[in-house]
Structures are given as structure tokens and as C-alpha cells.
Amino acid sequence: MKVLIAEDDPVSRRLLQSYLAKWGYDVAAGADGAEAWRLFEQDEFPIVISDWIMPEMDGLELVRRIRSVERPFYVYTMLLTARSQKEYVVAGMEAGADDFITKPFDRDELRVRLREGERIIRLERSLAEQNRTLRETQAALVQSEKLAGLGHLAAGMAHEINNPIAYVTNNIAVLRRDMLAVMQLICKYQASRKLLARLAPEPAAELDRMEQEIDLPFVQANLARLLDKSVEGLQRVRDIVRDLRDFAKLDEAEFKDLDLNSAVHSTLEMVRHEMTCKEIHISTDLEPLPPLEGHPGKINQVLLNLLSNAVQACSVGGHVAVRTRAEGGQAVLEIEDDGSGIAPEQLPRIFEPFFTTRSVGQGKGLGLAISYGIVRDHGGSIEVDSQLGRGSTFRVRLPLQLPRSD
């Protein structure tokens, strides 16, 4: 375990270093508070032992600073002091110190107190771990309910929209067949128009007038085109309904063979509108992949989360690239954007539930946490390369075959 020592007295400092090294600790030492603080910022020290009185920055200030920064782990701080009166103990505790060791220190006492510190650190760690699991579980619960709701909506919608699409499509086919036949019939009538004009000039003139009024040549020339375009439009509606259904395949709770590339295609359809609005260019490089074992709805959710994030990160006219490839028993998916990127200090936190960089109400900060959980459930991993102002690349690795659980 790494221990940081802050002590201005060289003799005392060396003594501490040698004891701790002998007990198996990984030791770094600063000659005053300021130097110790620089060391602390550069590395991870679960334990800090600091003298109280030092030039530049004293032990109390060092402890205060350590407490003021957020670290993903607990830092156990011990103050070394000749001051054992009650008011000093209170001041030290208030600054955030965990323990006091009176100078001159006793070797055995120091050893057991360090061990006590290690015990506290272990407890803090397991608490933090439990907290994280709890938050993940809660997030997973929220996500499964959200997904269930969306699945019901999608299934219900698909069914309700399907029937009208079905008969409208059929009606247009009937209209096409019957109206084109009627047009041929009208052609036949027109062929005998001269004869009619001779026999009955008045009705013939009436027919001429009506033909002009409805612009019959246009109708004859464009009827088929109008109907064909309508069929095309309906085909698009059909595709959207099908994509929506593919997106939230909730009936299939089982893992099954899925085609990652077609999942990418159907998810791209979902964000197409958003991309068009922001004039974002999308390029895809999808290599043929063997089917992989997974939950289609959930994999689609991962894709949607990552793609929406990429679109959100981009400014108008930005680029998003989607790539897939097979690599050593894994399917690898990369989603790269040239957007705002992620600040280095935020990078370690982005997969945490409820972590968000957007303003309140714009995002719950669950997207990446959910994606992380889903990919983990598939035995895969997500990683990210990002540079602030240059863009981010999210890389998802999914095993083609699920690891067999025991």
C-alpha cells in the first residue's frame, strides 16, 4: 500500500521511511506540506502521515486540502504532533485527520495504528463498492422499466399502424389496377369521339369541356406515378414501423443470434432525423460479422445510447464514423465523433450512473451506465479514447459466444 509522508525534519523523515519500507509499505516523502501536496496530486496514496508543524504548508492545511478534493478512494490521514492537548486534537479532527501520533513516536504504536488505518480503508472500500453496486442495481431497474414501457409502446404501435398500412397499400394496388383499366377504357371512348361529334355534337362538346376542366392529359400521364409514389411512401412508413419493432424486441427475453451490422443499420435509422437536423455526416465501415449471441433489444439500446451521445457531442456539420470488425472471437464496434470530447478529469466517471455533463433535465446520466451494464452482461467491455475539443471514440467489444456461466 502506498503511503505519503510529509515531514520537514530530515531525521524523523528518514526514520519513518525506513520503518515503513521494512513493514512492506510503498513510501514517498515530501520535505514540507507543499511538496507533499504536489506528490499527492500526482499519485494515489491511501495513507498520508503528516507532521503538524512545517514551513510553507502545515499538516493541518495539508489535511484540509486532501479533504477538499474528490478521490475515488478514501484517504486515511494521520497527524504527527507533540501537541496532545484536547484543543489540538479537536482542531486536527475538524480539519479531517483520522488519527494522531504523538512525537516522539513509538515504533510499535505506529505499526498498529497504521494497521488500524488499513482496516478503515478496507471498510471504506467495501462501503464504496456496495454503494456502487446499489446504484447500478437501481439504474438497471430504471432501465428495465423504461425498456419495458418502450417495448409495449412499440409493439402496440406496430400493430395499430400495421392494419391501416395493410389496407391502404392494398387499396392503392387495387386503384392502380382498376384505374389504369379505366384509363384504357377512356382511350377507347376517345377513339370514337369523331363519330360521336357527327352524331351528337352537343354531348361531344360537353365532353370536350369536361376533359379540359379536369386536365385529362395530365391525369392520364401521371396517375400511375402518383400511385407509385404513394406506394413508396407507404413502404417507408412500413420500414419505420419495422425498425421500431426491431429496436425494442422485448418479447424475446432470451439471448439469441443477432447480426450486429443490421442492428447498427436499424439504430442509425432511429437517429437519422437528429443527424439530418444537425447536418452530421455519417460514415460506416461495417465488415461482415458472424452472428453473435445477445439480447437484440438491449444491444440496440447500447447502439442508440452511443450514437445519440456522438450526435450530441458533435457541432453542426460534424462527422460520426461507425465501424465494426471481428477480432479474435470478438465483435468490435467503434463509434467515433469529432465533437467536443471529454475532459480528462471526467473520463473516469462517465460510466457511473447519474453522471452527466448536460444541464438538469436534459439527460438523466444513465445512458452510458446502462450501456456499460448491458455490455458487461454480454461478457464484453466498453472503452473510450477522448481528447477535449477533438472528439471521442467509444469501443465496444462483444464476445461472439457467451461465456458459459457455471
Binding site: 400495421n162 391501416p164 395493410a166 389496407y167 392494398n170 387495387v174 382498376d178 407507404l234 419495422r242 419493432r245
Partner: protein
């Protein structure tokens, strides 16, 4: 199919717009009856010979699969086709496994495909009917032979008659 009467098709869907649309498409080539429920469809099957039954799966009251199960008792020779939405896959699989349907068609359907499938179904019905007629003719012929023939060939003839009866 020139000369022969139009195949009779029973269309079943709870949505009248669907029935109207299908009627418009199929009226020229088929002899159509429509029903808006499984119950009405069963009545129609009992009343007139039906070559092809085309039913939706999702209907209030009686589902398409239930209708097919009951229709076999009333009109076993009718060839059945089922319409299915996206969410009805389970029902289709069940119906296929129970040998209840000849084909299934997803909604929304392609009009040309639908016509082709209906003609296939009509041809299938025709084949089955022809086989039945053939067997009946053969049975009649064998029965006459048995009645006219001497003793020793009768046991063989009777056995053949029994087999024909089973096939019919």
C-alpha cells in the same frame, strides 16, 4: 383454370376496411364471402363449400388459430391461410405445428404475393379434391368387382375396399 368456376374464398378479419380492400383486390378472380368474426366464419363454412379460408390471427372473441382448429371439424377439406402481424409469431408456429395452415402471410402483405398464394391454395384444394374423387371412383369400381367376382378373389377385394375406405 379456364372454364371452371372461380375458387371460393372466405375472408375473415375483424376490421371491415381490410375486408373491403381485400374484396376489391380479389373480386375478379375469386368467389368471395367475408366474415367479421370467427363465429360468423364458422357459420359460413357450415353453409357452403369453401376452398380457401384466409383469416387474421388477432381478433376479439375467437382468434384465427381457434377458428382454424374448429373449422377442420366443419370443413376439413378447406385450405387455410393465416394473416399475421409482427407479434403473432407464436400463434403461427403453433398453427403450423398442428398442421392447421397451408401458408401464412405477414401484414402488411404484398398484393401480388397474396394473389399468388391464394392461387396456390386453390390449386392445393383442387389436388385434394381430385384425389378424393379418384379414390371414390376406385372404391366404386372395386365394390362392383367384388360383387360380381367369384369367391377366391373376394378376400383380396375386400381388403382393398377397406384400405380405400380408410383413405377416404
Amino acid at each position: 383454370m379456364s372454364g371452371s368456376p372461380k375458387p371460393s374464398v372466405l375472408l375473415v378479419d375483424d376490421e371491415p376496411d381490410i375486408l373491403f380492400s381485400l374484396h376489391a383486390l380479389l373480386r375478379r378472380e375469386f368467389d368471395l364471402v367475408t366474415a367479421e368474426s370467427g363465429r360468423a366464419a364458422l357459420d359460413s363454412l357450415a353453409e357452403r363449400p369453401t376452398h380457401v379460408l384466409l383469416t387474421d390471427q388477432r381478433m376479439p372473441g375467437m382468434t384465427g388459430a381457434e377458428l382454424l382448429a374448429q373449422s377442420r371439424r366443419i370443413s376439413p377439406e378447406t385450405v387455410s391461410i393465416m394473416f399475421t402481424g409482427y407479434a403473432d409469431l407464436k400463434a403461427v408456429i403453433e398453427a403450423v405445428n398442428h398442421g392447421q395452415i397451408f401458408r401464412y402471410i405477414t401484414k402488411p402483405w404484398d398484393p401480388d404475393d397474396l394473389l399468388a398464394v391464394l392461387w396456390e391454395a386453390a390449386a392445393h384444394y383442387e389436388q385434394k379434391a381430385e384425389r378424393k374423387r379418384l379414390l371414390a371412383d376406385a372404391r366404386q369400381f372395386v365394390a362392383q368387382s367384388v360383387a360380381a367376382n367369384g369367391q377366391e378373389q373376394n378376400s383380396q377385394g375386400r381388403e382393398l375396399l377397406a384400405r380405400l375406405d380408410r383413405a377416404l
